[in-house]
């Protein structure tokens, strides 16, 4: 007798996505839906979708949702959470949304210790608008707006959001993970589960940064893109937990 050991999570609409072949968004969306299912919180989850490739997050995840203006998701989440502290709020943001236009909003939501969970998808590029440089584009990486490759003198250094936010006293859980192979994906899900647990237990602000491939933006096939995450991105953006809840510390 065969039993199902892996199937589509209930919180995901059974529709094809608009994402490119090999895009990391699909994986992270699925992890999000799995975590929502496993905690049984779909009816009290509220998401805030960004502007970027994942603007259509609401077409894929079945829960109450807002569509935010570019970068403002943490502010919208703050507004909703203050009205309904019992709901579980998450924002889902790309590197342009969170690390460029939305830098003030993410830092201050984190600093206020808003009891929300942020999913930060870092693919070192602006996907939706055609592959421009992101604040997280790594040194030497070529994009449509740094065709000679990012250099510190011309474009500055890539920004490390997880490390930066972890310096704030008001944050509770900050982790960076990756989704470029099954092992990394399993670890990523653990971190995401932990982040939601922090919120469910009312412990404060949690953020998980997901390093993700963008085959189209990087100009390489999906398999090669996953190797690029391993070989190049992790050097600039080390994986790990940068802040954990007080109860965990020794």
């Amino acid at each position: 007798m065969m039993k199902v050991v892996f199937e589509r999570p209930k919180s995901m609409f059974p529709v094809p996505t608009h994402y490119c072949p090999g895009c990391g968004h699909g994986i992270v969306h699925r992890l999000l839906a799995e975590v929502i299912d496993e905690f049984g919180i779909r009816e009290r989850v509220v998401g805030v979708a960004p502007v970027g490739c994942s603007v259509f997050l609401y077409n894929y995840i079945n829960c109450d949702m807002y569509e935010a203006a570019h970068g403002r998701a943490p502010a919208i989440a703050t507004g909703c959470k203050r009205v309904h502290p019992d709901l579980i709020l998450f924002t889902y943001q790309g590197d342009g949304d969170l690390a460029s236009i939305g830098t003030a909003e993410i830092i201050h939501a984190a600093n206020r210790g808003e009891n929300i969970t942020v999913l930060f998808l870092n693919n070192a590029i602006y996907g939706m608008t055609g592959g421009q440089m992101a604040p997280t584009t790594i040194l030497g990486q070529r994009t449509t707006t740094c065709p000679l490759g990012r250099s510190p003198k011309r474009e500055g250094y890539p920004i490390r959001i997880a490390e930066m936010l972890a310096t704030l006293e008001g944050v509770t859980y900050i982790a960076r993970v990756a989704v470029h192979n099954p092992r990394a994906i399993i670890a990523a899900k653990k971190a995401l589960k932990k982040a939601f647990e922090v919120q469910i237990n009312g412990l404060g602000f949690s953020l998980v940064e997901f390093l993700s491939p963008c085959p189209t933006g990087w100009g390489m096939p999906p398999a090669e893109a996953t190797k690029w995450v391993e070989a190049k991105m992790i050097q600039t953006f080390p994986l790990g937990e940068f802040k954990v809840p007080k109860s965990e510390k020794g």
Binding site: R42, E43, R44, V45, V46, V48, V55, Y58, N62, C63, D64, M65, Y66, E67, A68, A69, R72, A75, I76, A77, T78, G79, C80, K81, R82, V83, H84, L87, A104, E105, I107, H108, R112
Partner: protein
């Protein structure tokens, strides 16, 4: 309640919001409205509400978006440059059909400008400000008492139309102290907020959005918004006709300037010049009809503003060439005195006789 208190306009605005059932405020300090966030920072916790000083006016307007989308009565306030920052958010809130109240305590502009009063944001308030085909319902109080009354009405109007409502005040109204009575408002019937984000329990999920990539869909959405503004124009115009029955010359003014004009009118009538005033209270929807009617009775209308001529364009639209429209304005924080207004009317009177 029947009790009169002597408070600043800013505090009256804050208290009126609380009396109207508003329990959420998101804002940022900017002169001359700082007393609104300051007052609400201690008043809201008293009534179990929530006050957040946001990191910027931009963040504040999006917190409003979040709270309004969650079904709450929510207020933000700012002054001219801060209102400029909020424009994108206001466009989003209008597109997503969310109710909220936005208070602009106008100051001198453009740019950083000055901290004294002006009426230089009329265009911004009534002609858009943000991108796209949308409008705010805009209420313009003239006294501290009226500011309190209009703020209370604003929350009902916002819920009625699922649209942001702006209360357009200026630095004088915000900062001066006058006696205010917070009247008990009889509750009115309002639509239920079943579209609100409250957790998708026992219902299909709700989505608060403004993106419609299909042009046919987006056009239909725009037409839906437009029908609301047509309804507002039919039902919500508010205007004060002051001594217009026997007026030979008319003043058009709103807000603080209208008050000053009332003194000028008193002086002019003592001098034998019969002057009246049409004072718009809603500047959107604008009382075009009131001006159309009065311009059949008078030959000259003097528009007085603390700007270089913004409301005058709407006055001219209403008047439609039936009367001569004159203008007098002061800017930069300068406020016209009743003497100056008297002089302008006397000039008009003299030019008619010649």
């Amino acid at each position: 309640m029947g009790e009169k208190v002597l408070i600043t306009g800013n505090e009256a605005i804050g208290e009126a919001a609380v009396r109207a059932g508003c329990r959420f405020f998101f804002g940022y300090p900017i002169t001359p409205q700082n007393k609104i966030p300051e007052y609400l920072s201690y008043r809201l916790p008293q009534v179990g509400g929530c006050f957040v000083q946001a990191e910027s006016e931009i963040a504040a307007i999006y917190m409003v978006f979040g709270a309004a989308g969650a079904g709450a009565r929510v207020l933000t306030s700012s002054s001219s440059p801060g209102i400029s920052l909020k424009q994108e958010g206001i466009s989003y809130i209008s597109a997503a059909e969310l109710p909220c109240v936005i208070v602009n305590v106008m100051r001198g502009g453009p740019g950083l400008g000055g901290i004294l009063p002006s009426q230089s944001d009329y265009f911004q308030a009534t002609k858009g400000g943000g991108h796209g085909d949308y409008h705010l319902l805009v209420l313009a109080p003239s006294t501290v008492q009226e500011a309190a009354n209009l703020v209370m009405d604003a929350f009902d109007l916002a819920d009625k139309y699922c649209n942001p409502v702006m209360v357009l005040a200026d630095g004088y109204i915000g900062q001066m102290m006058e006696p205010v009575e917070f009247k008990e408002k009889p509750p009115i019937e309002l639509p239920t907020k079943d579209w609100a984000v409250t957790g998708a329990k026992n219902r299909p999920r709700n989505l608060i959005k403004s993106l419609y990539l299909d042009p046919e869909e987006l056009e239909q959405h725009n037409l839906k918004l437009h029908r609301k503004y047509v309804e507002m124009a039919k039902n919500e115009v508010r205007v004060e006709a002051y001594l217009t029955d026997d007026a030979e010359i008319l003043i058009a003014a709103y807000g603080t300037v209208a008050r000053i004009a009332k003194t000028a009118i008193k002086i002019l009538r003592e001098k034998g010049i019969k002057v009246g005033m049409v004072r718009p209270i809603t500047v959107f929807p604008f009382p075009y009809e009131a001006f159309a009617k009065i311009s059949e009775e008078v030959d000259d209308i003097l528009v007085v503003e603390m700007s270089l001529g913004q409301m005058i364009e709407d006055v001219k639209l209403g008047v439609c060439g039936r009367a001569k429209v004159h203008f007098y304005g002061r800017v930069g924080g300068m406020v016209p005195t009743y003497d100056e207004i008297v002089r302008e009317i006397e000039k008009i009177k003299r030019s008619r006789v010649l």
